[in-house]
């Protein structure tokens, strides 16, 4: 009988995997990761985040907001004292900082984790909202890799949709780097999982 927690026999793409931190840590192979619900002997193969190139819009917005503050400064009414103008500027900068930090956290904590037993999707949607969806490899029915658009094709990022059996929630990894590689890795892990169980 094969122990569920024994190291899986490496076949296909799994045999060629080496620890790698790629694309600003948005595609991390065999990382040093631990997570709250991790089981004993569960090995993490992939940690995925959205490709950094998809984060450029909010970075541009933050820079534009900064310039907007500088422009508004030229038109502030003269009835405000210098201390009040200083407060307004500080408040504007604080808002930009909050905007940047929130968007960074949304990117940083929206993580997809692929282990030798499960696929986990952690979402940090808004300030008071977080969601964790997970499914075991045995319950995965269909894997779809979608990549569209000039930039996505050029830089190689896209979406991976994981359809599960029955009423289980489906899992989506959005705008992740190398989606086809991710699908191949998950497929190999499913094969190993089925052999082991």
């Amino acid at each position: 009988m094969v122990n569920k927690h024994s190291p899986p026999p490496k076949t296909g793409i799994l045999s060629t995997l080496k620890p790698k931190h790629d694309s600003f840590n948005s595609f991390v192979v065999l990382p040093k990761v631990s997570f709250e619900s991790q089981r004993q002997g569960e090995k993490v193969y992939l940690v995925l985040r959205a490709h950094p190139i998809t984060q450029i819009p909010w970075i541009i917005n933050a820079v534009l907001f900064f310039f907007l503050i500088m422009i508004i400064n030229q038109f502030l009414p003269t009835i405000l004292s210098s201390v009040q103008i200083l407060f307004l500027n500080l408040f504007g900068l604080a808002l930009i900082f909050a905007y940047v930090w929130f968007n960074f956290l949304s990117w940083f904590f929206n993580v997809g984790i692929v282990t030798n037993e499960r696929v986990i999707d952690m979402d940090f949607g808004s300030v008071i909202y977080r969601e964790t969806t997970e499914t075991t490899l045995g319950k995965i029915e269909d894997l779809t890799n979608k990549s569209g658009g000039f930039l996505a094709s050029f830089i190689d990022y896209g979406n991976v949709f994981i359809q599960t059996a029955g009423t289980e929630a489906n899992i989506e990894f959005l705008k992740i780097p190398h989606p086809s590689t991710v699908v191949r890795i998950i497929n190999d892990l499913i094969n190993n999982f089925q052999v082991n169980t």
């Binding site: 840590n25 405000l80 909050a98």
Partner: protein, 87 residues
Amino acid sequence: MTDINFLTGVNGQQLTVLFFKIFSLVFSIMYLVYSLVVFRQTQIMLKTIHIEEAGTISSPVFVILFSVLQLVFGVILLVFSFSILVF
């Protein structure tokens, strides 16, 4: 018979300054509350997943540092708005 004017003795400039003072205090408090919530949420998320990333500052330290920085920013704004209110 005289017209009733609740703003008697208060000109437009004084009203603007009063509005500014109230705005600064209310929004500073809101910013501080928001910073606290983000800080707490960050702590919870770091407990949920711990990642050691090679070649970078340990990510939990980095994330906590910036969340604390946002809190400090909130406190500075609140102190500033109080000083505007008083002086």
